[in-house]
Symmetry: C2
Subunit: 474 residues, 2 copies
């Protein structure tokens, strides 16, 4: 007999979490890491479960779910697949709402009996009135509920939700994008999608008032028609950015071994995404870039004209090539505009034709004046300022990291952006050494705090903005 | 009357260097930076020249070239273009062999009189019996002679020479590639190419016994026929890697403003490069990647079969897609090979079909055994091991940075590479935060020291190796 299945909303704010398979060992194990992460995040009711121990990381450890005195809404499972069915009986008895299986080795292993095991688990979930997340995934990250599955990532909630068929990507996105200012409402790693799947998640986030932007990593969809409907409804309400893994023969093979996904034809998937006005990206780096653009570029440009500003002839040539290859457009500056620029940029070592390159383009006055002149050009719709972190810049006493340098530049860019009403984008190049990375991270933090979209290369600016403009024009 | 012009060999080991325009100020100025760099590199005879000062950075400062007591072979010039001709008279009187103009604002400024000034400078050089490097460039970096033009870069000599029409790229290449193990014989930034140009430099490095690999950043060539001959001769002797800047309309415009280059048609340039078996790349990052592959992949693969090894399903799917997009090939593993792998890789959480992904692929034993099994597969010609630096890895006490973790893994990879006779390539992903970057840089240093080619993403491995294989097959 089937009981009513809990809605996803119930999953995102559990009152108590049990972690089955946690151990006190210092070894890197997922279950123990979750206990530590929940503890550090201040989650109020954490229950490690393992008959072998009485304590895990200072918390009482219980021999079974039944032995836990408090309410348990969510169960994190990291025990061998062979023990899954017995555990699900315990979950039903305890009245939980959701069970997340980190455990892998199910249908994706290719063994028939493991696929059958999944079907038996599904029956137990429906009979027990709870949901299954995964198996073969890292589950839920909901900062607002302090429900976390990793540490070292920002815990402030934000407006982005991410659904990911890969656990690695689910943990990497908040980690890698954190320093660039991205914050998340909910991240759901759903692995083999036995129960909770991409379409249900899209439906949920489409309606979720705490989600303004939806990101997705998808290897394969279970039901193309249902997915298209869910995607269409979500994309009509919010920007949806999709990274499809498994777009080549080898990639499909890996996706099948990874999450048992039978990835659909790339052409079909691409066509679906285009029909419903989503933004498709090619990898995780591009996913972050597009999210940064959507989140922080104000206003979002509707056209492809871009101006490039910064010191360095080589980077300026590269910038031009990258922008045009990405099908952005660098409008040529009229003699009048060039004459305006020559009033405060020196003849020697400068390029005035867009890109604008001048040796004094690290001074706030020159940056501000240049931005204001370029911002008035009608067919320029966004402005890029680029900056490197060569040891030369450290020579003057770390001028690129010093508040004395950064603050005036940032203030100049804020004022210029307000005055011209067009977005200013930053291209900060990470350094290859530790002193350079310190400068780079300090600068990035300051620009991000001031609300600017920060990218790590001119190519990344070009590719992300080209995608965002195309989406915004559609 | 023309005097014999010195050969380039004379330029690379000057006995004394004068820096015209140096000042004692702490401001970032090129001339003063060169004085400091030469001093730190231990160059024996450094002569700052500036009539306004008597001392620069603890060295006696001279009012003119003539006032210098010692021999001066090379002059670095950073004074306004207007004073160039008078200075060249002084250079002739002093009997110097080469004059490098950092000074910009010549033909690239677009003013007719500045182009005429360049021609007058050229006449003075021929009459005075010295060579001009630039103008509008950063000049010479020759570690063996301690002739340096920047600091914070490795000073050990190495087998790569780089000719660069961009000063920024000339300084960036040794800086950004240093931590990946690249070392240089000579780096020449030649800017507007008034006298010393790309073809003469190619001829020189083609014959230079201290140069095994030639890298070039070129915006435009002065004489296509001469360049093709020089390129052909160089490419017949050594690998030549070319990054052509200004491949789009906007890029050409920027290149013209940058170094007065009239960049040729991209199609023509591409055809030239293909005729003579060079490796073309699209940006500086790719230039570094290809140089790393040429320098450290042993043996250089002649075919496209690649095996991917490492933990993480998402990265494995990405790896597959990137490799195939770059037209590398991931051979499917036969049931026999998969059975071999299953002997030491767990069922749960693993992919056995190439990519090989298993949760224990951070253990030296599992890595070594996997590499040996894959290395025997005939259509696998290179093996990639990938590793990220997520905070999770720091939890176990910084296991990825600790010698206790790294040393056994590196030893296992060295032994496996020797046993299988195929190159092992590393894809180490830089971290977004400082603790992660510390781990990353420590690991990178250890792998580089052990002689491995290290790349920073799977995409970079794919693109670089595809180019190297194509070149090696040609």
């Amino acid at each position: 007999m089937e009981r009513e299945k809990p809605s996803l909303a119930k999953l995102f704010s559990p009152r108590g979490v049990a972690i089955v398979g946690a151990s006190p060992s210092g070894r890197v194990s997922f279950a123990t890491m979750v206990v530590l992460s929940l503890k550090e995040a201040g989650f109020p009711a954490i229950y490690p479960v393992n008959p072998k121990y009485t304590e895990v990381l200072g918390l009482p450890c219980y021999p079974s779910l039944q032995a836990i005195p408090g309410v348990v809404d969510h169960v994190v499972v990291s025990i061998p697949a062979e023990s899954a069915l017995g555990l699900l009986d315990d979950c039903a008895a305890k009245g939980v709402k959701s069970v997340h299986f980190f455990t892998a080795g199910f249908s994706e292993s290719g063994y028939t009996e493991r696929a059958e095991l999944e079907r038996a688990m599904m029956s137990k979930a429906r009979a027990g009135g709870f949901r299954i997340i995964g198996p073969n995934c890292v589950g839920l990250f909901v900062p607002k509920s302090r429900l976390v599955n990793a540490f070292g990532i920002p815990l402030e909630p934000g407006p982005i939700s991410f659904i990911s068929q890969s656990g690695g990507h689910a943990q990497n996105l908040p980690f890698y994008s954190g320093p660039r200012g991205l914050r998340f409402s909910k991240v759901v790693s759903y692995g083999n999608a036995l129960d909770v799947d991409e379409s249900e998640l899209l439906d949920y986030f489409s309606q979720d008032t705490e989600t303004d932007i939806i990101a997705a990593y998808i290897e394969g969809v279970k039901d193309g028609r249902r997915f298209l409907r869910a995607l269409g409804e979500a994309a009509a309400r919010k920007p949806v950015v999709i990274y499809k893994g498994g777009t080549t023969e080898a990639g499909k093979r890996a996706a099948h071994g990874h999450t048992a996904s039978l990835t659909s034809s790339v052409a079909v998937f691409d066509a679906l995404c285009k029909q419903v006005r989503t933004i498709q990206v090619d990898d995780m780096e591009e996913l972050i870039d597009v999210l940064v653009a959507l989140r922080f570029a104000r206003p979002l440009p509707r056209d492809t004209g871009v101006a490039i500003v910064g010191a360095g002839g080589g980077p300026s040539v590269l910038a031009s090539d990258e922008m045009e290859k990405a099908e952005l457009h660098l409008p040529y500056l009229s003699p009048e505009v060039q004459a305006d620029l020559r009033q405060f940029l020196p003849l020697a070592g400068s390029i005035f034709s867009n890109p604008v390159d001048a040796p004094n383009l690290a001074s706030p006055e020159a940056i501000s004046a240049t931005m204001r002149v370029l911002g008035k050009v009608p067919d320029i719709h966004m402005l890029v300022y680029h900056l490197g972190f060569h040891p030369i810049s450290r020579w003057g006493g770390g001028r690129f990291s010093a508040a004395a340098f950064l603050r005036p530049v940032i203030d100049a860019l804020i004022e210029a952006q307000q005055a011209i009403g067009k977005p200013v984008l930053l291209a900060l190049r990470p350094a290859p050494d530790l002193p350079g990375m310190k400068d780079f991270l300090t600068a990035q933090e300051a620009f991000v705090e001031a609300g600017f979209p920060v990218f790590h290369s001119l190519r990344q600016v070009a590719k992300a903005m080209a995608r965002v403009v195309a989406w915004n024009q559609a």
